[in-house]
């Protein structure tokens, strides 16, 4: 069960191409106090969430218990775990920071976002490699289709060890088309997302690869996707997905490295939605060697002068 939702707010917080390690100042981005003990990924997420709301993704018209949030991450705690490991293995476990200790649980990373936006409906963290950002879009849609929420924040946050490339966060606010129309909201486009699992052992057979093509075809339906972005990891799964796409009625397939986490596909979606000139029907996939495949189907609204905040 899923639902098509419209995107009414987008927030992107990523380092500029030539950024150093200090590209993000939480005091400037978030405020002078209260953010010191948040892991950077959490800080990025908060900043992206605020930008998505400021961008027009209104949550204040939705009852708090009808707001949801789904956040994806793969490397959001990489630095914290590395630091904790170093502290413990150096023989000084007592020196672990008590203020940072709660973040040992990955689900805690998103709780500050949830608190800040008074999200009292479903909240979930998804962590499947590469695809978690797209899964955040799909999981929220399922919650809405099941009647559990009226709007949700879908987000991805990352803070890889070898950053700043691949660091940052993207947040989107989605709601029902009718609700957005009722408040005359700016709509970037509609988005539907699916998550598939194609085990590598299955894709090793001709029958398995054929089945992948059939499933992808059923997911895409009759829409004419002029351009396709595939974010992968160079795995056999990625090769199988790209091969399957060539047999489907889709346009040019553009491949790019997914990078160390799940942020790149969501960042691409944000760019497509906010940059004038994007083809109307777009497909963005994330693929992981473990067999995870995330599929985001976009129908982009008319070109707009608004950009992702």
């Amino acid at each position: 069960m899923t639902a098509t939702a419209v995107i009414t707010g987008i927030g992107v917080v990523v380092p500029p191409p030539d950024a150093g390690g200090d590209w993000f100042d939480p005091r400037t981005a978030l405020g002078p106090r209260g953010y010191r003990y948040l892991p950077p990924a959490c800080q990025f997420l908060l900043a992206a969430g605020r930008r998505a709301v400021a961008d027009g993704g209104r949550l204040d018209g939705v009852p708090e218990e009808r707001r949801a949030a789904v956040v994806g991450t793969n490397t959001g705690l990489a630095h914290l775990f590395a630091d904790m490991d170093a502290t413990v293995t150096s023989g000084t476990a007592d020196a672990l920071s008590p203020a940072l200790a709660p973040f040992f649980a990955v689900n805690v990373l998103g709780t500050r976002l949830v608190s800040e936006h008074a999200v009292k409906g479903p909240f979930m963290t998804v962590t499947s490699p590469r695809v978690a950002g797209i899964e955040a879009l799909g999981a929220g849609a399922r919650a809405m289709a099941a009647g559990r929420c009226d709007a949700w924040i879908a987000a991805a946050m990352e803070h890889p060890l070898d950053g700043p490339a691949g660091s940052g966060a993207v947040a989107m606010i989605l709601e029902r088309p009718a609700d957005a129309a009722a408040r005359d909201a700016h709509v970037y486009g509609t988005c539907a997302a699916s998550a598939l699992l194609a085990p590598p052992s299955t894709l090793a057979t001709a029958g398995g690869r054929r089945r992948l093509g059939e499933v992808l075809g059923s997911v895409l339906g009759d829409a004419a996707y002029q351009e396709v972005d595939v974010f992968g990891d160079g795995s056999a799964t990625e090769e199988a997905v790209v091969s399957a796409l060539t047999d489907l009625p889709v346009g040019a397939v553009r491949r790019a490295p997914a990078g160390p986490g799940c942020l790149a596909p969501l960042e691409r979606l944000a760019r497509l939605l906010t940059e004038a000139g994007s083809a109307r029907e777009r497909l963005v996939l994330a693929v992981a060697g473990e067999g995870h495949i995330g599929v985001a189907r976009l129908a982009i609204s008319e070109p707009t002068a608004r950009g992702a905040g």
């Binding site: 106090r33 209260g34 953010y35 010191r36 003990y37 023989g91 000084t92 476990a93 007592d94 020196a95 672990l96 920071s97 008590p98 203020a99 709660p102």
Partner: protein, 92 residues
């Protein structure tokens, strides 16, 4: 934590301690007056109290007991406690 018993090279500097506490608590140095109450005025909760204890232990290479941590209510308290700890450490 393994307590380091190296001899301090200089007396406890109250202004350095004030700056450290301000950094730990994420407040301006001016807010950490000698008597500003950690809980009532500087919004220290139980988690942050533990953070203060750990960072003081790390910075000054001392060990703080649970009761000593609970008794820390202000910069003056921290200064007195640390001064005593450091004095004990250099006593023959």
């Amino acid at each position: 934590m393994t307590e380091q018993l190296s001899t301090p090279t200089r007396p406890l500097d109250k202004e350095e301690l004030r700056a450290l506490l301000a950094q730990i608590l994420d407040v301006d140095v001016a807010e950490v007056t000698d008597t500003a109450h950690f809980v009532d005025e500087l919004e220290v909760d139980s988690l942050m109290a533990l953070e203060i204890a750990v960072q003081l232990e790390q910075t000054y290479q001392v060990k703080l007991g649970e009761k000593e941590t609970v008794a820390l209510k202000s910069l003056d308290d921290a200064y007195e406690l640390l001064s005593a700890k450091l004095a004990d450490r250099v006593s023959p």
